[in-house]
């Protein structure tokens, strides 16, 4: 559906995207996971036609995307990182304006505005100025405004920044439902939990490059360990940490350690070691590694750095 071929984009001396290539198929829920400044928003703005790449080619359904061809963008919906709404206007007025800009009117527009407000549980506040809404409500409205014209491809640029858990779940449920109904979604975030929950395929992006791309399982297979072990940070476990250094990496957290074994290291050896130190088995939790671990493994940095 969407193809980015060897895209490069520079802002002065800074290279925001460096030869990025992506293929996104219809019906995918594709995640772009990376820290701030990695190049996620630049990809979104290029796909949305807000900027032109310095090199490379973007096509949507085989047609080249260009800032000079606004009609080609009619099948796109953009949920900007900002809450791109008119704060003094009501929720309904905002939606009507954005719908009309896509050529909607009359009963169709009215029905879609109603559907959107109902789906995001904002119908009872439809006539209130947006400035009186909570951050989460504004975020939900921000998404509805991008969907009124029933786009084929929805670009969500960090759509849950600053959102309360209740609104976040409402947004996730809504986007998942739309995806099940056939909407293709590109979702940029720096929250690995969001990418893990929502995305069928994820591109890890850092410094304008995509070092890893695939489903969650495919990505985690790139890690040299299958499981990581979490245990509390106490005086008793300090001796264990000293002995684990030769068998893998130990990442200290505020209250816990996270042990990622080297390839080939058997967990039975680990438990023998803990037993020899008199540490009870209930202190240790074995779990599947996360995208955070993958990002650290690939880039040497944490996602939130």
């Amino acid at each position: 559906m969407l193809s980015l071929e060897n895209i490069t984009k520079r802002y002065g001396a800074i290279t925001a995207l460096d030869g990025v290539s992506l293929q996104i198929e219809a019906g995918e829920f594709f995640g772009l996971l990376g820290p701030n400044g990695a190049g996620k928003s630049t990809i979104m703005s290029l796909v949305a036609g807000l900027r032109a790449p310095d090199a490379g080619r973007i096509t949507l359904n085989g047609q080249p995307m260009s800032a000079a061809r606004p009609e080609a963008r009619a099948s796109l919906g953009l949920v900007p990182q900002h809450i791109a709404l008119y704060p003094k206007l009501s929720a309904e007025q905002n939606l009507r304006i954005f719908g009309q800009l896509y050529g909607l009117g009359g009963a169709i527009l009215r029905d879609r505005v109603n559907e959107g407000l109902e789906a995001m549980q904002l119908a009872d506040r439809r006539r209130d100025p947006v400035s009186t809404f909570s951050g989460g409500m504004q975020r939900r409205l921000n998404i509805i405004a991008a969907l009124l014209h029933r786009p084929k491809l929805l670009l969500c640029d960090e759509p849950t920044v600053g959102v309360d858990p209740q609104s976040r779940n409402a947004i996730f449920d809504f986007l998942e439902k739309l995806n099940r109904e056939g909407l293709t979604v590109i979702y940029s975030t720096h929250y690995m939990e969001e990418a893990t929950r929502l995305c069928t395929r994820i591109g890890i992006i850092d410094h304008g490059k995509i070092p890893a791309l695939g489903t969650l399982d495919e990505l985690l297979l790139k890690l040299p360990f299958e499981e990581e072990i979490r245990f509390p940070r106490t005086e008793a476990t300090t001796a264990l940490v000293a002995k684990l250094g030769a068998h893998g990496s130990v990442e200290p957290g505020d209250e816990h350690y996270r042990f990622r074994p080297q390839p080939g290291y058997k967990l039975s050896n680990f438990y023998q070691l803990t037993e020899s130190l008199g540490l009870p088995a209930r202190l240790f939790t074995s779990q599947r590694p996360t995208l955070e671990a993958l990002f650290l493994h690939l880039t040497g940095r944490n996602l939130r750095e």
Binding site: P70, R73, L78, Y86, L89, Q93, I97, Y102, A146
Partner: protein, 441 residues
């Protein structure tokens, strides 16, 4: 076109939801026009200054000096002060020696001293002293002018007395008396009357122009008799409220420039909210956004101008209804020019704050040299030439042509052409800058 109309409707919805903007665009200028009208005495039948404190010291024993003081007291421009009030509340006549201290204490800024030697046998004319604290140059010139007018209009016989005094100094008192007596005898012989009374009149400076000593009302003052000026008004004879008609346009332009600059610089607010990203990601072009702002600016500008002229109609009786067609036309062109100016400001500024600062500076400058505050003809010639490059000048010219000179469409056409030309040039630069700038990034 549909997209532009949607965007214009959106701007209007935003505008009318913003009570402060509505108030600043319509109600506040309405109130200010009323206030400025009161300040400048727009509705007074006899406009001009009133009650400027003028101290008068009379050291002369000549009865004409008292008459001069009475004339000054009758002049509405002055509040004549002749007494000095001491700390113990006792009063005495002002002395020349009192003046400097009192003027430094800002009791008054102008004083007239009628000295003992009001007339001299060695020179022709009156000897008067004017003390000034010229803190305000315009006020000083105004006071000097009114003083001279009052003296020449009201006490012409003082000039006659001066002439006689000079005669005495030149040919001697005895020969002057004989000359006056001969004149009086001849007048009595030829026209009748008492020779002694006629001689007394001559010695008091009355050379037979009996009415010359009047108040000046009715056009029979000395000046009006010496120089007869026939005034023929070729335009504006039928204008009901001449002062308001001349100046409301200037105020309206100032308010319009501020309102439309604010409207144009609201582009920054939309950029900062990410609105442009949302709508440019759809089937909307940058050109459509800019055109919508231009159309909206013209609409809101016309609304504001019409409101302000209606205020002029209600408050000062400006004749709007008989010129409505051409007035709407000039308002549309003025609004277009002001909108293009606001767009240029937004295009060359990096932020709303920078645009607002620049707008204030440029608007005040344009209003000053464009004639919105005082007539361009009072300015130096090179400023008058620069003035013609400002949209304020041409808008004022247009309002004046329509409301004052009752111009026809053909007569108005060149002014519309200049305003249209300014709009085209400024908008072209603005669009070029917008395309190179970062407002849509």
């Amino acid at each position: 076109m549909r997209t532009i109309l949607v965007l214009v409707r959106k701007d209007f919805a935003n505008f009318f939801r913003n009570k402060a903007a509505v108030s600043l665009t319509f109600a506040v200028p309405f109130a200010l026009i009323w206030l400025f009208g009161a300040v400048f005495g727009v509705n007074r039948k006899d406009s001009g200054p009133t009650d400027i404190p003028l101290a008068v010291v009379n050291a002369s024993t000549n009865p004409g000096a008292e008459k001069l003081i009475e004339a000054l007291k009758a002049e509405k421009a002055f509040k004549v002060i002749t007494k000095y009030t001491a700390d113990d509340k006792t009063e005495r006549p002002l002395r020349e020696a009192d003046l400097a201290a009192l003027m430094r204490a800002n009791e008054f800024r102008f004083a007239l001293v009628i000295p003992e030697d009001l007339f001299s046998e060695k020179t022709f004319g009156l000897h008067l002293k004017v003390y000034t604290n010229p803190r305000n140059e315009i006020e000083t010139q105004l006071v000097n002018g009114i003083l001279q007018k009052t003296i020449f209009s009201n006490v012409p016989q003082l000039l006659g007395q001066s002439l006689i005094a000079r005669g005495r100094g030149t040919i001697g008192a005895e020969r002057m008396d004989k000359f006056n007596q001969a004149i009086a005898d001849n007048v009595a012989r030829n026209f009748g009357g008492d020779p002694a009374a006629i001689r007394k009149g001559i010695e008091q400076g009355d050379f037979g122009a009996g009415g010359l000593g009047g108040t000046g009302a009715g056009g029979d003052s000395l000046i009006s008799q010496v120089i007869r000026v026939e005034s023929i008004q070729v335009a504006g004879q039928d204008v009901k409220s001449p002062v308001a008609t001349r100046i409301v346009g200037g105020w309206a332009m100032q308010f319009l420039l501020f309102a439309l600059s604010a409207a144009a610089t609201a582009l920054f607010s939309e950029r900062d909210h990410g609105i442009f990203h949302r709508i440019l990601a759809g089937p909307v072009t940058r050109a459509q956004i800019l055109w919508s702002k231009f159309v909206y600016g013209i609409c809101i500008g016309m609304l504001q101008l019409i409101t302000l002229f209606l205020a002029g109609r209600i408050l000062y009786g400006i004749d709007v209804e008989h010129h409505i067609g051409l007035l709407l036309l000039i308002c549309a062109f003025a609004a277009a020019a002001c909108t293009s100016f606001g767009m240029l400001l937004a295009a060359i500024s990096s932020s709303q704050e920078a645009a607002s600062g620049l707008a204030t500076f440029l608007i005040l400058l344009m209003c000053a040299i464009g004639g919105a505050w005082f007539p361009v003809t009072l300015m130096p010639e090179f400023i008058q030439q620069i003035s013609k490059l400002t949209l304020v000048y041409w808008a004022m010219e247009g309002f004046s042509q329509v409301l004052w000179a009752n111009a026809s469409f053909m007569e108005l056409l060149p002014t519309l052409g200049f305003l249209g030309g300014i709009t085209a040039v400024v908008m072209t630069i603005a669009v070029w800058r917008f395309n190179r700038g970062k407002i849509f990034d």
